[in-house]
């Protein structure tokens, strides 16, 4: 069996988000780059399957050279081989097109991704890749059981979950719930040493269009100062919620 993780590299969740002076670009100064949190759940699930079945695990990432240290982290956690498509993933369609082109001559049985990246939150690249390749696809995956070629997949729906049956190969966009939080892997020293020797191949991007363009960024409007209510006069709070906020 062959497994692929389509990896996103994102700013650490504690990052302060700032923009360049003309507010047209995200300011990457001082940003710590990490594995996209949703991808971590998929990576861990992929590792569990690899350990159980002896599957081979590859990682592919569309992004600049600076992201290689994060790609190495997935190798240190246990992936066998990585590919970096050397392009800025500025547009979801462009990124998906690169990944679809990469998949053309490959034969992965299971393709994992994260539901969305926590920077641009597009929630669409795995689905676009499925659309472009015609592969089977499940979004927002919170459970997976494999039985030979058969996959039983749970996905999140509004207020609950849906259990689906499908067959491999399939693209799965994982998220929190796919594995337990405490199961998430971090690299150990031996893994880090081994990762140095694992192959990380750089691939030139294919010609592709961008369909969207970010032209401006701003911070969300600041909240006005909080109205504090004395804990012994909660009727004032009820009054504010009823007459001012109009929520009760």
């Amino acid at each position: 069996m062959k497994i692929l993780l389509m990896l996103s590299v994102v700013p650490d969740t504690t990052s302060k988000i700032n923009f360049t002076a003309d507010n047209t670009k995200f300011d990457t100064t001082g940003i710590q780059w990490v594995i996209n949190p949703h991808d971590e759940f998929s990576l861990t699930k992929a590792m569990q399957i690899k350990e159980k079945t002896g599957a081979e695990l590859h990682v592919v990432h569309v992004g600049p050279k600076i992201n290689e240290s994060v790609i190495r982290k997935t190798l240190a956690i246990g992936a066998d081989r990585a590919y970096r498509i050397d392009a800025e993933p500025t547009d979801s369609f462009y990124t998906a097109f690169q990944l679809a082109a990469f998949l053309k001559d490959k034969d992965y049985d299971l393709i994992f991704a994260g539901r969305e990246s926590i920077d641009y939150n597009g929630n669409m690249v795995p689905g676009l890749v499925a659309g472009l390749t015609g592969m089977r696809f499940v979004n927002a995956v919170i459970g997976l059981d494999l039985d030979g070629e058969k996959a039983t997949v749970s996905r999140e729906i509004e207020g609950g979950k849906e259990v689906l049956e499908t067959t491999l190969p399939v693209i799965l966009a994982g998220q929190k719930g796919l594995v337990k939080e405490e199961e998430l892997r971090i690299p150990n020293m031996r893994g880090i040493m081994m990762a140095r020797k694992k192959p990380l191949e750089v691939i030139a991007p294919v010609e592709a269009e961008t369909l969207t363009e970010y032209v401006k960024f701003e911070k969300p409007p600041q909240k006005s100062a909080v109205k504090l209510v004395d804990k012994d006069h909660l009727e004032e709070l009820i009054d504010l919620l009823h007459n001012e906020a109009k929520v009760i």
Binding site: I17, F19, M124, E218
Partner: protein
């Protein structure tokens, strides 16, 4: 040309998101002179959409579509878009919509932008505002393709009544139903009788300050009283005090209710990222220095074990009078 909305339903009835999308479509059509059309599956009350400015509803009344299937729905909606010569397709941000829409975008080579919070700032070039960086930024994005898909963020646009003359026709797409065999739905599990986080107008959320799962009784009582959903912070879910499905934050659920009540939650940046689209935030915390107060509209400094029972009493008194 037309503006098409994907009208979702709850048990056959047009839902709140569909009304929001209809309102958005009507406003946009006012500017562009386009026709407003909706497509839905087995809608029982398609005429509801006329109230919000939709002039034509394509109702797909085939039993096959009783359950959602992303590929089958995508193909059917895409076919409706072709038939109506739609330049813009509007979808919501439910799990179903987010699953289906990229498949349409790939097939039509349409620019697709999610988390949209504004009407187009301009239509040439077609520019919208969206949330990005987990609500820590707002971005202006240009959609460059001829066909466009907008995913409207939850509770961001609002419902505007705008009654028009409408008509409904039964639509039968020529979809390959094989999609239902490729990915087969075997079971749907929904918590019954509880308000779901994504539908909730009010959310009552608890953090580590509540000291243990045994103390959630008052959180649930307050939520029941307000018709609210319950939620929690990441540490609470990680410690197993509450199910993971209740975790609200950057890596959990992102919510945007009319009122978010945070009890015993300090307000870490990752938590705020999941809730700061809420219309109103009420923070109850014993620590006056808790960072959450900076992001709040209303605050009470005090021990949750003292404040919450009192608040419950006050709300009961209020409800008795109203």
């Amino acid at each position: 040309m037309s503006i098409l909305i994907f009208a979702e339903n709850n048990n056959g009835k047009v839902n709140k998101t569909a009304k929001e999308l209809a309102s958005y479509a009507a406003e946009l059509a006012n500017r562009t002179g386009d026709q407003t059309v909706a497509v839905g599956f087995n809608l029982e009350d398609p005429e509801t959409l006329y109230q919000y400015g939709i002039r034509k509803v394509l109702n797909i009344t085939d039993e096959t579509y009783k359950t959602f299937n992303a590929k089958a729905y995508a193909e059917a909606v895409a076919e409706a878009a072709e038939k109506e010569n739609a330049s813009v397709l509007l979808v919501g941000s439910s799990n179903d919509a987010a699953y289906m829409a990229p498949l349409i975008a790939a097939a039509q080579k349409a620019a697709y932008v999610t988390q949209v919070i504004s009407e187009p700032l301009q239509t040439d070039p077609f520019t919208v505002k969206r949330k990005a960086f987990s609500n820590k930024a707002i971005a202006e994005v240009v959609l460059k393709s001829e066909k466009k898909i907008l995913g409207i963020a939850k509770n961001s646009y609002g419902i505007k009544e705008n009654p028009v003359e409408g008509q409904t026709e039964v639509f039968t797409p020529q979809v390959d139903k094989n999609a239902y065999e490729e990915i087969k739905s075997v079971k749907v599990e929904k918590a019954t009788g509880k308000v779901s986080l994504s539908d909730a107008e009010i959310i009552v959320s608890g953090g580590r300050g509540l000291k243990g799962p045994e103390n959630w009784g008052m959180i649930e009582e307050l939520a029941d009283l307000l018709g609210a959903a319950t939620a929690c912070s990441k540490p609470v879910a990680d410690m197993g005090w509450r199910p993971h499905t209740e975790h609200v934050g950057q890596t959990g659920k992102q919510v945007a209710p009319n009122l978010y009540i945070a009890i015993g939650i300090s307000g870490a940046i990752q938590h705020l990222a999941g809730v700061n689209s809420s219309k109103n935030i009420l923070v109850i915390n014993i620590d006056p220095e808790a960072p959450f107060f900076k992001a709040a509209d209303y605050g009470v400094v005090g021990d949750a074990f003292e404040v919450v029972p009192k608040l419950i009493e006050k709300i009961k008194e209020f409800k008795a009078q109203h």
